[in-house]
Point group: C2
Chain length 246, copies 2
């Protein structure tokens, strides 16, 4: 069962302020929690239906709370809660993550689903470092964690003054613009940065100044000129294109 204090703690963790105060974040559902239990992340506590309990091997029983479906519903952010919710410690990261290899830079990504999908793509395409502008949605937001499908444990994320941070990186910086070079005909290098712009406004003026290589994903249909691709979809196409030659 869940105590009142636990309930208060968990519900509070939907807010960034509380996540930072307690240094904890929420992960939900069989797939995500299973992956994070197998990662190097530090488990704080886990709340499980009896169905999932048998899958919890080598976990200190003090950390396990068996709960009812009704209790899970109370703490879950999902329409259809899925057996388990766990709290993990937010990992300590270096102030500055590595500049090696292919890097993603996110210029004010606001949608948690987009950020989670982008982290998952970074994992798939072997991008170790994701730089986020300070206005990008918090990566430990429960909806972001859900969309990462567990890949958060394999990708380093740094929130920073993106302009200053990119200014100090000595690599080609790519960004997608309507008037850029056709990405399919551009020679790319994986030792570079790809900037992904905000869902509504694209790449900000300030960051645009730092882009060394303006590229574009061409349209093939009769789609309107004003039409654009979703931020996560654009990320997938660009990462695929940067990696395909390897």
């Amino acid at each position: 069962m869940i105590s009142k204090n636990q309930l208060k703690l968990i519900q509070g963790l939907n807010q960034k302020k509380s996540r930072n105060k307690h240094n904890l974040f929420i992960a939900e559902g069989v797939k995500v929690v299973s992956e994070l239990l197998n990662s190097n992340l530090n488990l704080h506590s886990v709340y499980v239906l009896t169905e999932f309990y048998t899958k919890l091997n080598n976990i200190n029983s003090d950390k396990i709370n068996i709960i009812t479906e009704l209790e899970l519903k109370k703490i879950s952010n999902l329409k259809a809660p899925n057996q388990v919710l766990a709290l993990f410690n937010i990992p300590k990261t270096d102030d500055k993550i590595s500049n090696d290899g292919l890097i993603l830079a996110l210029d004010d990504i606001r949608d948690p689903g987009n950020l989670g999908t982008i982290i998952r793509l970074a994992d798939w395409f072997g991008v170790k470092s994701v730089l986020c502008s300070s206005n990008t949605v918090d990566v430990f937001n429960p909806k972001v964690i859900m969309a990462t499908m567990g890949s958060i444990s394999r990708v380093s994320v740094e929130y920073c003054d993106l302009y200053q941070r990119l200014k100090d990186i000595n690599k080609p910086i790519y960004g997608a613009f309507l008037e850029g070079d056709n990405i399919y005909k551009t020679q790319t290098t994986t030792n570079s940065v790809i900037v992904i712009g905000n869902e509504s406004n694209g790449i900000s003026e300030e960051i645009s100044e730092l882009i060394t290589n303006k590229i574009t994903i061409p349209q093939f249909g009769e789609a309107q000129e004003t039409e654009s691709l979703n931020a996560a979809i654009a990320t997938s196409i660009l990462l695929s294109e940067f990696r395909r030659g390897e």
Copy 2:
């Protein structure tokens, strides 16, 4: 204002049965409704806040209902309703859509957001025909329409017995499998069909029999072997790869 009958009609249209009975579907929000008003779709009625009213040119005033924010909230499916909701007639389509060019075939896509994003991608990449298995979510579901961002008016969609339908198409049929050929090293042709599998189960056994070209999107990171890409993300990478040589 909205009459009781109108309210009942609109709320009913969240159900497929009612959509088919009335031959109507719901579109919401400034972007989607604006695009559909500029398409060849037939407007049934539109419910607008005064802010959006001025943007309604050349529309028969009998079809326009000016409503309050409170009324919009009542009929909207969005957390943050966006100025306008409209009902359009479900367009008559041919029983069989065209077999020309690059075709997408969806084998039980269940998530409305995924289907909408896939339709939007089809539009971007010039895919005119999308074949859906009969268990694929209804394309006129309001959440699907929202995610298409208006592109539904430029893509033809046919629900069918996908096995029979594909059996009768004389083209290469591609599908993604773990053990397929590396898509980046495969010669593709745009005169073909790409099958996209269900979110949880991938391509069904029955449809697998018809796949002539098994392909795979390789991983570059340390992602788990069991990890997979989201259906819409996989679609974007495959369509980009099929079109890039043009």
